[in-house]
Symmetry: C2
Subunit: 350 residues, 2 copies
């Protein structure tokens, strides 16, 4: 190993000199040892350009001798949730939660019983429910996500998420996380990246289970957020009520705006799967130095779902990955992860 | 030392057995050793009830055998900035910044030159400036804190904070931090508390220097926050512009609301010095288990300033600590830190 090689692999000369005296020669192949370790940490990833790009990004940004080195405190990686970390089809999990909550809300507010869209939801008619407009959905979201103390909401979500099951796999939603992405989160954290969720979903919703499911603490979840209102109960004890006031719509341009609001640093790496993540990836990419921009493409109809409409995949409106986004990603050198070819395994239990 | 004692002090029996074989007996007085360590970490604090309460809080919440033990991930401590971590008199540092920025803003927007309140600020007439109304100040804040890309703002603040000096001490503002509070931040972090600033000041402003001055990274600064707007420059490069739209007024009830928005956990310990911190301390105190609520009282006219009007101190409008707040604190068992008697040293350079 000459000095150039050592520098290229980020090894300080003095360290090499003192270490070589103690270590048998075969162990000095540090780069391949590192690569091997990464390989085993990313065991559910097939070898290919996506995996290689990720490993290379981590290598250069964590190697002090590399010009692309990033100090640990600046190692911020942001992940979209729905469709990037877990299954989003046939319906966003939080929307399922809201629909499931309607009977309980109507029980407390009987005046809603005969009113649309609540009447349709109460009828249980799936076909009609699938036709609900965005405005109908918003009304359901408002009724089920606001108006209660934050702790009451947390308790309700916790109870639901521990029992509700996905219609296809008959498994808890929290089991429908992508194994390769869980490995990636761990791998990045092992390399001192601080992992954040930046989701279009409700931040109070995701915070309930983020630690348990992703190893991401609530304070590292940025999401669509409403205001809260401080008040006192009859005993004078203060509490916060969830208000029907939108502070942050954490989709599209809202993602970089939310990142600035709640993190205050530009990410070094960002992961998404739809047009709603476009601005987050653009913003990440616009910073100086090494940046990783990754989009997950749902192209595996058999093991998960197939939708796009990038590369001619059907557009199913949930998690739309347009051809335009695909073209931008290709042009700007973003990494496209094909679930079909880049992932050895998709769901942990399979 | 019997098993009960060991358990009470959170010491695993096996560790004790193996350690006792190696350590001379006098060193086994671990509790007093811990207390001694805390004492040396809080070297600028006089012995007294305030210091004792803080040390005792940390002891019980970090001792696994104690019923008041708090898991590390829940150890959140929030600190007001102005008047709690650094000097806020005679004027909030950020307001000084905004006034100092007026000439540069007027140079770019000449139409403001002959308009109040900008005209008064440009005149440099301190007496007139002191009489500016809240509405005048808001207009100055809007003109100097919004309308520019976030990076431009950061660069401007950085440049200013590295040169601007406090009129009394002729020192950089960043030198006017309270030494006992810097020690306290360190002490809490050494005990795996995550320290946050929760300030009525602008979060983008404080984030520029929080790491360097307090060891608190930008993502752990919650403050008054405006919206940003995502857009592209002429070369197609995305950037965020600071908008004149208030998202969070992080004062009074806004503090617990901001904590919920950006942290999502109720603090275990909260530190403030004025009525603007009241709700943050109430909210902190309303959680179950051990909670620490601390108010700093400015009662040292000689070494710093003397204002209140708690305990008959003059009300100077900046950092008002009312008698009502003092009474609530006393009634609910909050800890009052007297700068005069609890702090051996106030400013690090003195």
């Amino acid at each position: 190993m000459n000095a150039g090689t050592a520098r290229r692999f980020g090894i300080n000369r003095r360290v090499v000199l003192s270490a070589t005296a103690l270590i048998p020669l075969p162990l000095l192949h540090i780069p391949s040892a590192l690569a091997q370790e990464a390989n085993s940490q990313l065991a559910s990833w097939n070898d290919g350009p996506a995996k290689q790009t990720i490993i290379e990004f981590v290598r250069v940004t964590t190697d002090q001798a590399n010009p692309k080195f990033v100090p640990p405190e600046e190692r911020i990686a942001t992940f979209d949730q729905d469709g990037t970390l877990w299954v989003e089809h046939p319906m966003y999990t939080q929307v399922v939660y809201c629909l499931d909550r309607v009977p309980a809300v109507v029980a407390q507010r009987p005046e809603l019983k005969e009113r649309e869209p609540f009447k349709i939801v109460l009828s249980g008619d799936r076909e009609q429910m699938a036709k609900l407009s965005l405005r109908d959905l918003e009304e359901i979201l408002l009724a089920t996500l606001t108006g209660m103390p934050v702790e009451v909401f947390e308790t309700e979500v916790k109870k639901w998420i521990e029992t509700a099951k996905h219609p296809r796999w008959k498994r808890l939603y929290t089991e429908l996380t992508y194994q390769p992405m869980l490995e990636l989160l761990q791998y990045l954290r092992a390399n001192r990246y601080k992992t954040y969720i930046v989701t279009g979903g409700g931040q109070d919703f995701v915070r309930v289970y983020s630690q348990q499911v992703y190893g991401i603490p609530p304070e590292q979840v940025v999401g669509t957020a409403g205001g809260t209102k401080y008040g006192y109960d009859q005993g004078g004890k203060p509490f916060l009520t969830k208000e029907p006031k939108l502070l942050l719509n954490d989709n599209d341009a809202g993602k970089p705006e939310g990142i600035h609001l709640e993190i205050g640093r530009r990410p070094r790496a960002a992961f998404g799967n739809s047009t709603g993540d476009r601005q987050m990836l653009e913003y990440t990419g616009a910073g100086a130095g090494a940046r990783l921009k990754v989009l997950v493409l749902h192209d595996d109809a058999k093991r998960e779902y197939e939708y796009g409409p990038a590369r001619g995949l059907p557009d199913t409106k949930v998690g739309t990955f347009t051809q335009e986004l695909y073209d931008e990603a290709t042009k700007d050198g973003w990494t496209i992860v094909s679930m079909k070819s880049d992932w050895k395994r998709i769901l942990a239990f399979e």
